[in-house]
């Protein structure tokens, strides 16, 4: 059926036979053979026409013409390589950015959670008057699991670090400790082996562990014979029974998981049987079809029941209640505003790119104006013409789309690393079918947009008449100029908004980088030493370890001072909230009393980390007397709660007066949590008298880090060869980590904004040049009448500036709204920051003047006589 050549040949023969027979008839009627033949042909009405009519009816003729038109479109594109390249590159940038950002939005915000229970997973909170979440006790979790009807189940969860032995060096493993029903409840099927069985959470059950996917790949390189392997943790042998599939690092990035009974901390009888011992988190899954409101209502009811049944456990002034919040929401809330901002940015960039390509396409159609006008005038079906224009645009869009997808795909790693800081779902960002479908859809819409302008232009009757009259000069009408100018106005507005956004973010970044964290971050190495609880469960044993370690560390070559502390500066966490009272200073009634973060430190801490001692002294080795407790406080704490009183020598107590510590020194403020956060009020205690066993080591060095790292490991192994050393990083890296996210966002937005500016500049140059071409006769007359080059340039520039000013006006309006959207990301900069706006206006005006220079110079070089000769 599709053998066209053969069919054509046959049709030809058939018609020739027909003509022959008609001619023969006429000969019989008395005509000469020649006359007969001619008459027959005339009667037939043109063999070619008949053939055309037959061909039009063939099936698959639509497909055939489409293929033909597509090949023709490809050929015309190939004949205009500059246009095609410019258009494809421009579209690739716009589509690539949109695809990349959409893949992030899809993976993090749109895509369902990769667990069976999906969006029904909730995090149960226990908010009180003092804290947003007090946590749950094991007994409460068990009761809730039994009593809640709106949930399929409630499971306990907490995460802590243990030491794992039996696989090379001792490892610090972040462990998720859960009820045995946890994985079944949330709907996670193991990749290998199994998860936990009912009963495995009982205290005394044989200890088992399940590995996380990442841990399995990192430590065991995906070895599937890992099932059955055993390791020692907490002085017990644990067997590996399963490996999990890749999952978001929620609620924490856990290396391994174990059933609740295997955690010695949580399973101590004192904790287990104490209803008020709030040690764990609770997670639950809503029953299908149950709304969050219904669940919250039931939680309130159950809470009231428990309060009535156990009044001692729920004191009235604590006002403890139960609440639930969507786990998905927790995982995505931080990322959402940033991702949406990036999406809006990419959309703007795409608009600018499409506007440019539409303009380019319009120019190109103008050049073929005469040919197309003729075709329309001679009766060419407009449907076919539009189809050809669409196919051209579609080809361009698809090529741009393919290049854009490649661009975006190559940047997936970067996208994931940007997202990791914002959400545990970063691993779900992929180039999958959804993203590709989005890109294809985008290409189709873009093709429509690009084809629309030239099509409207081609088919308007005025344009046909003009084109037929003017030929291929491509001067077009004033209507064209207006349409193109409007496109550029839009581009200027877009570039303005993006530049303002980038400018605000850049200023925030600069402000952030200037923040003084209160410490000297240069040349300080840190490492995490999480002590084994069971091994170091007495103050003496801990003291033995810390003393021996510090002694050895201080003798290392290249180390000028060493210290230990219970927390890291700039640790991105939450400040502690230790209430205390100052001896002799009654707390104001109703007001919240003094409170601060508490950090345990070794004597050389301030010297090592670079915190100035403002008054009094730092700790000494002799400050280890538990009957004579001492404390050091930070400057702002003193200013806030001591007022004019001299703090040195006063006493403070955290347990309502049972134990008092004497203040012996005041030190400078630090930002213990976030660079963009508040100064942290600190109360320092000597590590010798504290119970801290998750320690950080600090080494101030003179030279290169790698030998110091090796030496550190060696020293720790000397003191205790079962002690893992983890999280080795410098203070500079830690500070840099806090700057990484704003640096990335600013870089992304600035790059997009610069691209938009470039697109706008080329668009503006194009439109102005086009205007100049249109006005060539007028310019020629002016020049002939004596206008000097300055006046001509002024003429051209005036048009350009009109467009730019229009774009700036629109941009101003939009950016006021848009800036509010990124207000959460700004630091020490207002959304209406004058300096930023002024700079952006200057940049755009400067670029515009530059863009107008080329066409205006061309106008000046016009030869007046030459214009009239060729017109």
């Amino acid at each position: 059926m599709f053998d066209h050549e053969k069919q054509d040949h046959e049709l030809d023969e058939e018609l020739r036979a027909y003509v022959d027979l008609v001619a023969a008839e006429k000969v019989k009627q008395g005509m000469t053979p020649d006359a007969a033949r001619r008459a027959a042909l005339i009667e037939t009405g043109g063999v070619e026409q008949v053939k055309e009519e037959v061909r039009d009816l063939r099936p698959g003729v639509l497909l055939q013409t489409l293929v033909q038109d597509a090949r023709y479109a490809a050929r015309t594109l190939r004949k205009a390589p500059v246009f095609t390249l410019a258009a494809v590159i421009t579209l690739a940038v716009g589509i690539g950015a949109s695809t990349a950002i959409f893949s992030m939005v899809n993976g993090v915000l749109l895509h369902r959670l990769p667990i069976g229970s999906g969006d029904r997973l909730v995090h149960m909170l226990a908010p009180s008057a003092q804290a947003p979440n007090e946590g749950y006790s094991m007994m409460e979790v068990a009761d809730l699991n039994r009593d809640l009807k709106t949930m399929t189940g409630v499971a306990e969860y907490h995460s802590m670090a243990f030491q794992l032995y039996g696989h090379g060096d001792p490892l610090r493993v972040q462990t998720g400790v859960v009820s045995d029903r946890f994985f079944d409840m949330i709907g996670v099927k193991p990749l290998l082996g199994r998860t936990f069985l009912p009963g495995e959470e009982a205290v005394g059950a044989p200890p088992v562990v399940v590995l996380s996917y990442r841990f399995w790949m990192d430590q065991f390189h995906g070895d599937s014979s890992i099932i059955g392997a055993s390791f020692t943790m907490n002085d017990k042998i644990h067997h590996v029974v399963g490996v999990l599939p890749p999952l978001p690092g929620y609620p924490n990035e856990n290396d391994i998981w174990m059933p609740a009974g295997a955690c010695p901390f949580r399973s101590a009888p004192m904790m287990l049987n104490n209803r008020a011992m709030r040690m764990v988190e609770a997670y639950a899954v809503l029953k299908p079809g149950v709304s969050m409101e219904a669940a919250q209502a039931e939680l309130a009811t159950v809470n009231a029941r428990y309060r009535a049944a156990y009044p001692a456990v729920y004191p009235a002034q604590q006002r403890l209640r139960y609440a639930a919040t969507s786990a998905r929401e927790e995982m995505t809330a931080r990322a959402r505003p940033i991702l949406l901002m990036l999406l809006a940015t990419a959309a703007f960039l795409l608009l600018a790119a499409v506007a440019n390509v539409a303009n380019l396409s319009l120019s190109r159609q103008m050049r073929r104006a005469r040919e197309l006008a003729l075709r329309v005038a001679l009766g060419a079906a407009s449907g076919r013409l539009y189809r050809q224009l669409m196919l051209e645009s579609l080809l361009l869009a698809l090529m741009g789309g393919a290049a854009g997808v490649l661009l975006a795909g190559s940047g997936i790693g970067l996208l994931r690393s940007v997202a990791t800081r914002l959400t545990p779902r970063a691993g779900e960002i992929q180039m999958n079918v959804t993203v590709l479908a989005f890109t294809v859809g985008l290409c189709i819409v873009i093709a429509l947009a690009i084809a629309a302008a030239p099509f409207a232009h081609v088919l308007s009757r005025r344009n046909i008449a003009v084109a037929l009259r003017q030929g291929n000069v491509g001067m077009g009408t004033r209507g064209d100029l207006r349409m193109r100018s409007l496109l550029v106005v839009a581009q200027v507005a877009i570039a303005f908004v993006m530049l303002v956004g980038a400018g605000l973010l850049a200023r925030s970044l600069v402000a952030l980088e200037r923040v003084d964290a209160g410490i000297d971050v240069s040349n300080v190495l840190t490492a995490r030493l999480t002590l084994n609880f069971t091994k170091y469960n007495t103050r003496t044993s801990r003291r033995g370890f810390t003393d021996a370690l510090l002694e050895r560390l201080n003798t290392l070559p290249g180390v000028t001072s060493a210290a230990l502390a219970s927390s890291l500066p700039l640790n991105n966490g939450q400040p502690g909230n230790q209430q205390f009272q100052i001896d002799g200073v009654p707390s104001a009634p109703g007001a919240r009393g003094p409170h601060s973060d508490v950090t345990a430190i070794s004597p050389d801490y301030f010297r090592t980390v670079g915190i100035p001692v403002l008054r009094g002294r730092a700790f000494a080795k002799t400050d280890d007397d538990t009957t004579n407790l001492v404390a050091i406080v930070s400057r702002r704490l003193v200013a806030t709660y001591w007022g004019a009183r001299h703090p040195i020598g006063t006493r403070i107590s955290a347990d309502s007066g049972r134990h008092w510590a004497t203040v012996i020194g005041v030190v400078g403020d630090v930002r213990q949590n976030r660079l963009d956060g508040d100064v942290t009020d600190e109360w320092y205690i000597p590590v010798q008298t504290s119970g801290a066993n998750d320690l950080r080591a600090f080494l101030r060095t003179t030279g290169a880090m790698p030998p110091v790292v090796r030496a550190l490991r060696g020293v720790v192994a000397d003191v205790d060869n079962q002690q893992p050393v983890s999280s080795i990083e410098t203070l500079e890296q830690i500070r840099g980590a806090q700057l990484a996210e704003p640096r990335l966002t600013t870089t992304l937005l600035s790059s997009f904004a610069t691209l938009a500016l470039i697109l706008t500049a080329t668009g503006l140059a194009g439109v102005i040049g086009y205007g100049v071409t249109q006005r060539l006769p007028e310019i020629a007359v002016r020049m002939a009448l004596g206008a000097d080059s300055r006046r001509v340039i002024a003429l051209v520039m005036r048009d350009g500036l009109a467009i730019v000013v229009g774009g700036l006006a629109v941009g101003f309006g939009v950016s006021f709204v848009a800036a509010r959207l990124i207000s959460k990301l700004l630091f020490q900069v207002g959304t209406t920051d004058t300096a930023t706006y002024v700079v952006v206006v200057a940049v755009i005006l400067g670029t515009a003047i530059g863009a107008c220079l080329v066409p205006s110079r061309r106008a000046v070089r016009t030869d007046p006589a030459g214009v009239f000769r060729t017109a």
Binding site: E10, E14, R16, A17, Y18, D20, L21, T44, Q49, V50
Partner: protein, 108 residues
Amino acid sequence: MAQTTLLQGTLDLLILQSLSLGPLHGMGVSRRIEQVTKGAFRVKPGSLFPALHRMEQAGWLESSWGESETKRRAKYYQLTRAGRRQLKEETSEWSRISAAIGMALRNA
């Protein structure tokens, strides 16, 4: 004789009818139609050949190559079984319609 424009359906009917007695080539069909309608309808090749090809695709006609009167290769068409059925249906349909129109005109 005035040239009246034929509806496509009517042309199909005439073609089927003309082939009911045996295979014909394109010109033969045209002449036969002219003959039986006493010259009222002269089908031009611009309408005839597209119709013939269309009806062949629809399965009502099948074609074969043979020798024409002028010793040239020519395509001959003949009715298929489906074509005969189609002819019967269209004929009865036509009678119904013309009877109805006749009644309408008489009673106008």
